[in-house]
Symmetry: C2
Subunit: 479 residues, 2 copies
């Protein structure tokens, strides 16, 4: 087990330095590699395969809810970006500008899309004339660029991969329903496929997307007690339509402005999975998105019949799951720690004694629990174990979130809680006044996360000013 | 049928103006829409669904041949692009330059990737130490930017979608084999899934990719007799490895330079499909890539039982094929021409009389052939018809290519052939001298396309200088 030990020692423990633990995993599980462009990374095969699984599942959900994929240009002319005033104000400071094509200086600079509302609006104006053309339910899988000052792999990078849904509707109600529907799609995906519980809610006005009437978000809690915004969904009203002159002829033959939404999740979800489920042995991946769901490891593989049996089992499992057989000449101990590092949900060990008894050993990654099972039922039992991994990861993350959600009645209680318990979700009442929001952040360091859909009457007074409260509000230190 | 007529009249006929016929189809089949960024387009749902099918099939073939997907940054620092001299010379004149991030001027300008060899090389240098790290067989699905002067949808645009495979090997032989393997993957895909015959061959030295030792290509012939390069595969030798300092420790513990390849196909394939199979009624899509393979159209749909039967048939077919039932209140005639325009391979009509007789009418798009078949066998027969569409499209395209491939022995014959027959593939012998290649192009207007793998001894003299010939060479006017 010398190899095993060496391998594990290479990761900083999360208790010692959470940020270093995170980057150690990202590098040593071979998810990414740095490049000479600051804030831009190579997503390596293992990391990209996780993203492909996320894409496949979400894309299926988008199509099942009637959405179609399109592809917009990556460039936005400066003049187009400027059409919606709040939007340009929010994004212009952090865009990358193309000023030259070959040797020629461009008359109108092009920004590399930080998000594509303006491009979709230009397109809608071209293709929408009548109520018969509505709704349009579009999505695209692309990368976008935001010139961030400080960057971290997956969590905040200058270029990142995402999907951006953009829809346009005849009525405000339809658009609001769409905004909520897609937030629910995200929340369900996070809970089912990422095994990550989330809080659904609305952002306060100070935290809305640039140009939106309302922004909804899902917020998750990481191992270190910090909050992570895992997905957002925006309702635009008819603001963009008015700015871009998008109008349609209604059934009553009147020119009307339509209503819009947009919604997105990014490769940040991979960062969330690392920080929600990982441990000091490495990644722990939920089965739905694991590039390899089961690894089969031969024990004493030089002994007669071992490799043959392992191949037979791997092939049987392979018809139903994503399976790898590691028959390399590395030691079994090295393999154990390698695949723990890579977060593979289920390990199956097969050695001469197991074969003799008609058994194999199954080890679930998240709790390292061993069980000896019959080879006759290996496919069925593997399925049960994978389900147990998903549920185990989810319950652990839920317990973490519940244990670290603190109700506070006043400013002193927030400060005391943070000092005694460390980071977590702080749940308070709020009067709705931005001044109070700012003051809480300034004095305690936690920022508003969202006004949860599940409102709860903790008290009747604002946590800050003591005046009558309007909302329950979640706070936290955020990624 | 008034609607029907109106619809068809909207496309310019290909005999009248081939270029206009092409852009009419691209717009009216709703594949793309123009944007305010010159040379950049919106790929609309129907166009993007074709690309998704191309991606899915090719991605499966890449993975089956051992390749893994990755994702590189979209930016290349100018200093990195300059490391391989031929490469930068070829690409620098046509790249888009990012000079500012937010308000800050960048010290090292970034180009938006026109291709990613330099990024892959930087990455290889970071991750390859030993022969155990080789080969790496990578691919990525991204968009790239080349600042073209004249642009046409799909065929030549400033931004286009593609896949770029990049591999690195311990030996030259392995790399050469990979280059050929992937060209064959492309050729098989074009022939099977796009129903488009291609000529496989090597580019002349004057036409190689910037930085390559050898470039292989597949060339297809369009309806108008022009040639279209449909995919390329490059062998780099160890030139990039030397320029980027990529070295590995061999089994014999010696530092060696590895050997590289790259290969790509683009959204241009959609343009190829339009021009290889389309007609004056619109698109004609091969079943493998058709977003909708079968459209079911009710006849006299207000009559009792018609819609129910259509739904039943569509559902049955839907378990095996991509099917659409159009139960809108547009006329059947309008629907016929709409789905002919969109190139849907198979149309199924079901009316009261058909139902009474237990039949339906099947119409294959490419030849508009009608047949009456039993509803009991509809799933099986639909499969046969779809196969017939693929074969029919392929044979027609093959016939076009064969009829328009002209063997020429000297310059006069080339000129005479082009004057009498119009564009096509000109097949000649060639001495291998670049001066002759230039002279043929200058005097006749056709450029070298490729030195075909299937060499044929047409004569023993160069078509231009009359000296001893080394190769058979294809020429043509190219897209």
């Amino acid at each position: 087990m010398a190899d095993n030990k060496k391998m594990v020692e290479e990761i900083t423990s999360m208790e010692e330095d959470f940020a270093k633990w995170y980057t150690d995993i990202v590098k040593k599980a071979e998810l990414i590699e740095y490049t000479s462009v600051k804030g831009c990374m190579v997503i390596r095969p293992y990391g990209y395969a996780i993203w492909e699984n996320i894409q496949r599942i979400l894309d299926g959900k988008f199509k099942a809810t009637g959405h179609e994929n399109v592809c917009m240009p990556m460039f936005i002319p400066e003049s187009l970006l400027q059409k919606e005033k709040d939007h340009v104000k929010g994004f212009a400071p952090e865009v990358a500008w193309v000023t030259h094509g070959g040797d020629e200086k461009l008359e109108d600079r092009l920004c590399v899309r930080p998000t594509s509302e303006t491009l979709f609006c230009e397109h809608y104006a071209n293709i929408i004339q009548s109520y018969r053309d509505l709704p349009k339910l579009y999505n695209q899988w692309v990368s976008v660029v935001r010139w961030e000052k400080t960057t971290r792999p997956f969590l905040r990078s200058r270029e990142f991969l995402w999907q951006e849904g953009h829809t346009i509707h005849a009525t405000a109600q339809e658009a609001i329903e769409e905004t909520e529907r897609m937030l629910n799609v995200y929340a369900d995906f996070c809970e089912e496929s990422l095994a990550m519980p989330v809080v659904k809610g609305r952002k306060t006005d100070s935290d809305k997307f640039a140009g939106a009437e309302a922004t909804y978000a899902i917020e998750a809690l990481m191992h270190d007690g910090k909050a992570l915004q895992a997905g957002t969904s925006h309702y635009f009203g008819d603001g963009f339509a008015r700015a871009f002159g998008i109008q349609y002829n209604s059934k009553e033959n009147k020119l009307e402005y339509p209503f819009q939404t947009s919604w997105g999740v990014t490769t940040r979800l991979i960062g969330a999975v690392i920080m929600a489920h990982g441990d000091n042995n490495g990644l722990a991946l939920p089965p739905d998105i694991a590039p390899i769901q089961i690894v089969v490891i031969p024990i004493a593989q030089h002994k007669e019949g071992v490799l043959e049996k392992c191949r037979e089992v791997a092939e049987k499992l392979g018809s139903k799951y994503r399976v790898k057989l590691d028959d390399s000449d590395n030691s079994a101990g090295w393999k154990f720690s390698e695949y723990e590092m890579k977060g593979i949900p289920l390990r199956i060990e097969i050695g001469p004694k197991d074969i003799e008894a008609g058994n194999c050993v199954m080890v679930t990654r998240h709790n390292r629990e061993k069980s000896v099972v019959s080879l006759d039922e290996v496919v069925e039992l593997a399925g049960e174990k994978l389900k147990a991994v998903r549920d185990g990861l989810y319950n652990k993350a839920l317990e973490n979130m519940e244990n670290r959600t603190y109700k506070c009645l006043d400013m002193e209680e927030i400060k005391k809680t943070l000092a005694e318990k460390g980071d977590g979700f702080i749940k308070t009442m709020w009067c709705g006044d931005e001044a109070c929001e700012d003051k809480v952040k300034e004095e305690t360091g936690v920022a508003s996360r969202c006004i949860p859909f599940e409102q709860e009457q903790i008290s009747d007074k604002c946590v800050c000013c003591g005046k009558p409260a309007k909302y329950t509000l979640y706070w936290g230190r955020a990624y």
